[in-house]
């Protein structure tokens, strides 16, 4: 819980700094956040390689965990389908297209803007950023309430890169392989699902 609060604190602090333009724009700083992410990924790899037991644990991992990407896609689309009832001005396909972003906000918002216009594209951008933020901020709580697969599923397409370090912390090293596999599959499904729902 304390860990989550600190993370939320840093995120809010960042928003305030961004809003008030205290620092020079991120673009001029180069890709600081990408380099940070790369350092994090390297360290996650380091922890895996450093653990003598880990490869044995991977082999013992239940094959059923491979079903997680399917649960993520079905669950997300079912949730977004229900939302259609509350958003009368959006079609079912619109809601499903936004949901199919699975947290991959850069790709999904660009695709949806091209197919359906900037309005829905911006909704996709916001909705999928929020999804990533929910994963980053809520992972420890989700583990406690719904088990170790829940934050990985919520992470959607991001679980092999941006949210992997947090998920490693929250779910433990044993689930790194589930997280990477899940991210890999969901990541690939995003462009297909988004364009499919945009075209129908």
């Amino acid at each position: 819980m304390k860990g989550s609060m600190i993370i939320v604190g840093f995120f809010i602090l960042g928003i305030i700094v961004g809003l008030s333009h205290l620092l020079p724009p991120m673009k001029s700083l180069g890709n600081v956040s990408y380099i940070t992410l790369c350092a994090l990924i390297f360290m996650v790899g380091f922890l895996i390689g450093n653990d003598a037991e880990i490869f044995r644990k991977f082999r013992k991992l239940n094959r059923l965990y491979m079903l997680l990407p399917l649960m993520t896609i079905v669950g997300t689309l079912a949730g977004c389908a229900i939302t259609t009832l509350m958003l009368p001005h959006r079609s079912l396909a619109d809601c499903l297209a936004v949901g199919s972003g699975m947290g991959y906000y850069s790709l999904s918002s660009v695709l949806i803007t091209q197919y359906r216009g900037a309005d829905l594209g911006t909704v996709a951008l916001l909705a999928n950023i929020v999804r990533e933020v929910i994963t980053l901020l809520g992972a420890p709580l989700m583990v406690r309430w719904f088990g170790k697969l829940a934050p990985i599923s919520v992470g959607g397409a991001t679980t092999m890169d941006t949210t992997l370090p947090i998920l490693t912390n929250a779910c433990g090293k044993d689930f790194v392989i589930v997280s990477i596999f899940h991210g890999f599959i969901v990541d690939f499904s995003v462009p297909f699902l988004v364009t499919f729902f945009c075209e129908i």
């Binding site: 995120f11 990924i41 450093n50 949730g79 939302t83 949901g99 951008l125 088990g147 697969l149 829940a150």
Partner: protein, 92 residues
């Protein structure tokens, strides 16, 4: 994506080579860098005018969609988790 995979592979290699040593520091550094990452993400959101300006008009709709998608995927993952734990016997 290829870049991420190769960085990860490099990390695994380095960790494996140094497996006889104990690295408590890496865990601490990981936590601190996660804070930094969230701080940078906050800055990017805060200084993005497209996001800040459209929050009022489209924010609620986006929030609703992301919460619904999140809830749906949690339920799916929870069902799978309970199924696996029951099969493995004993549960958590």
């Amino acid at each position: 994506m290829l870049q991420i995979i190769s960085i990860m592979a490099a990390g695994i290699g380095a960790g494996w080579l140094l497996r006889r040593h104990n690295f408590k520091l890496v865990g601490i550094l990981l936590t601190v860098l996660v804070w930094a990452l969230l701080f940078f993400l906050g800055i990017e959101v805060g200084e993005n005018e497209q996001i800040i300006n459209s929050l009022q008009a489209l924010g609620l709709e986006a929030l609703l969609l992301s919460l619904a998608g999140t809830a749906g995927s949690i339920l799916g993952a929870w069902a799978l988790w309970r199924f696996i734990k029951r099969k493995e016997g004993g549960g958590q």
